[in-house]
Symmetry: C2
Subunit: 362 residues, 2 copies
């Protein structure tokens, strides 16, 4: 693997405030900044470490929210200020990616880019990076929008799926459809068919192609941000964004472009990938004791207990007797105990906690 290609850029999206790991993740310290498995590196840092093996470090950008600026600088001191794009307000992925594309275009109009979430887990790194490198070659000189599809190993209902059409190259396929998170029965049909792959939320394209697609499919967004051509990459860029970004439409790149464009391709792989979207997904991936209990960061003593996941700060001891299938998560001023499949209720917990206790508790 080489980092020689100066045309290759990486955009890490690190602005999420996902509350699904509350209270372990907090508004002031979201998931991407946490080191769930005690490896010494947060998910964001792991993402950065991964891409810098194939992308020149100076070509790696992080797009995040203003409020996480200092956290990003603390966790990724290798980045210069110019490599951190700070959104003044939370929009969706399309405005975030469009801004990054205009920014990169100003630096290098011949650039290709890989866009990646900052909070996913990838266990088979070599295979992953090889696929990304081949993907960047695939899109470098062609007007193609490429996404990464993950070979499903179970009928997961928490992911979107990509249906593949005809093969157009070694491991590249045209995309037939994108589908939302399916019900279990449909998910089973998807997996058995061999035609459906998990949507990883990871994309590759050259800058010209994505900006062209934006002009055609999201003209309102393109109009807002193309007005800044000339200031991107200059000291005036941040002020332009602060003034114009809040007016951009709130739309995802999947809905706004990928599902509508006709030049969308998918590259397939099996990378030991997880979006770590829920406590349950974290549970599935983590090492388990003989009774299938998972302990993250803290210490634990289990009695008559099976299939639990416990996450507390380092140095704390959890003594648990008679629990089955529960999540026990504690951080700072909040302790949460619930069934580990009650992900749907998490938003309610967080809302109620905020109403009862205030901002300091979410």
């Amino acid at each position: 693997m080489t980092t020689n290609n100066k045309n290759n850029f990486c955009v890490i999206m690190g602005g999420g405030i996902g509350s699904r790991f509350w209270p372990f993740s907090r508004k002031t310290l979201p998931k991407q900044f946490l080191d769930f498995f005690g490896t010494g590196r947060s998910l964001l840092q792991q993402t950065f470490d991964r891409f810098k093996k194939i992308i020149p470090v100076e070509n790696i950008l992080v797009v995040t929210n203003d409020m996480y600026a200092s956290l990003i600088k603390e966790q990724l001191p290798e980045l210069s200020s110019e490599q951190i794009l700070l959104e003044p307000t939370r929009r969706n992925t399309a405005p975030c990616i469009a801004w990054a594309a205009y920014h990169i275009q100003a630096i290098n109009p011949d650039a290709s880019m890989v866009v990646a979430p900052s909070d996913h887990l990838i266990l088979k790194e070599d295979e992953f990076l090889d696929t990304v490198q081949k993907g960047l070659e695939f899109v470098a000189n062609d007007d193609k929008l490429l996404t990464l599809g993950i070979k499903p190993n179970r009928p997961e209902t928490g992911y979107g799926y990509i249906q593949i059409a005809e093969q157009t190259g070694d491991n590249f396929y045209k995309v037939k459809t994108f589908t939302e998170k399916p019900e279990l029965e449909l998910a089973q049909v998807f997996v058995e068919s061999g035609e459906f792959y998990w949507n990883s939320g990871l994309f590759m394209w050259n800058v010209k192609s994505i900006l062209k697609a934006g002009e055609q499919l999201l003209p309102e967004l393109a109009a807002k941000l193309s007005a800044g051509i000339g200031v991107y990459g200059t000291p005036q860029e941040k002020r332009f964004i602060d003034e114009n970004f809040p007016a951009c439409p709130n739309v995802s790149i999947d809905f706004g472009i990928m599902e509508k464009a006709d030049n969308v391709y998918v590259s397939l792989g099996d990378f030991g990938w997880s979006d770590l979207g829920t406590w349950r997904s974290l549970y599935e991936l983590a090492p388990k004791d003989a009774d299938r209990n998972v302990t993250l960061k803290c210490d634990s003593l289990f009695y008559n207990s099976k299939g639990n996941i416990v996450a507390m700060p380092k140095g704390k001891l959890a003594v648990i007797d008679g629990l089955e299938g529960f999540l026990v998560a504690e951080s700072d001023n909040v302790l949460l105990i619930c069934k580990k499949d009650s992900e749907h209720a998490m938003r309610k917990f967080v809302n109620d906690a905020q109403i009862k206790m205030g901002e300091d508790y979410i």
Copy 2:
């Protein structure tokens, strides 16, 4: 109520290290020093506040272990150093009470004394104090050992029982038998009989009588401690105790004297009393929400949860979904989650925690 009688002394036993409220109570901060209900006063302080209404403050003594000296001084600044008797090592109640009796005898050979645990709850204070005052009058000039019996309101298996014999005065009865904690069936028979009362562990007698009983029934103990007559109440007392107390036999006042003496009486009452011996007893006494959940000190949000007791430090929020009949207790570096009736396992939890994590966790 008056505190005029200079012959009346109170001995508060405050040396226990009970682990039954672990991790809420810790070896360095046992139950008697805790304010379970958030009233602003610990159980020890409540005990002191109660007795100072009928006993001259200078006649109130606390017997405790060396290691709690600073905690006692912090919580009861009204006490002079001479009023705090510091045991160099943990023995049982008989040596503790015998020392206190010799100490009081040196100050006032005509004294009577009430001996009380430091960690019990009493809700009906006036009735209690009235009974104690009458009890102190009852024993002042007679060779009688008096204990307090509590009218049982349920077939509690966690308490010892006192069977009464013939009445010998207004609310005073001869004691027929002391019994250990009974099985449930027997406890039900006890309660229905009307002859059995809970053993409160609270005693009254004059100093001469208890010392005489000790000489007769616990001669080894009496020999050890009577050797110090002449140094009690002097600056040499502490050194004498440090040298001789560790050699005293480890025996309870119940087993060593009350169950064997033939001049034992009981005074009956219903004082809203609890020895707060278990999380369950604390649960029974505490205010409950509509789903019978109890929250001590912290804040809580319950969903689909019934009959739980949650105790965490002030300022913490517990969010609990799907638990029934559990104890959730957290303090410092330990979180305990178990069925609230698994009191029997508490000692195992504490032992295992110590083995796995060390002294700082118990």
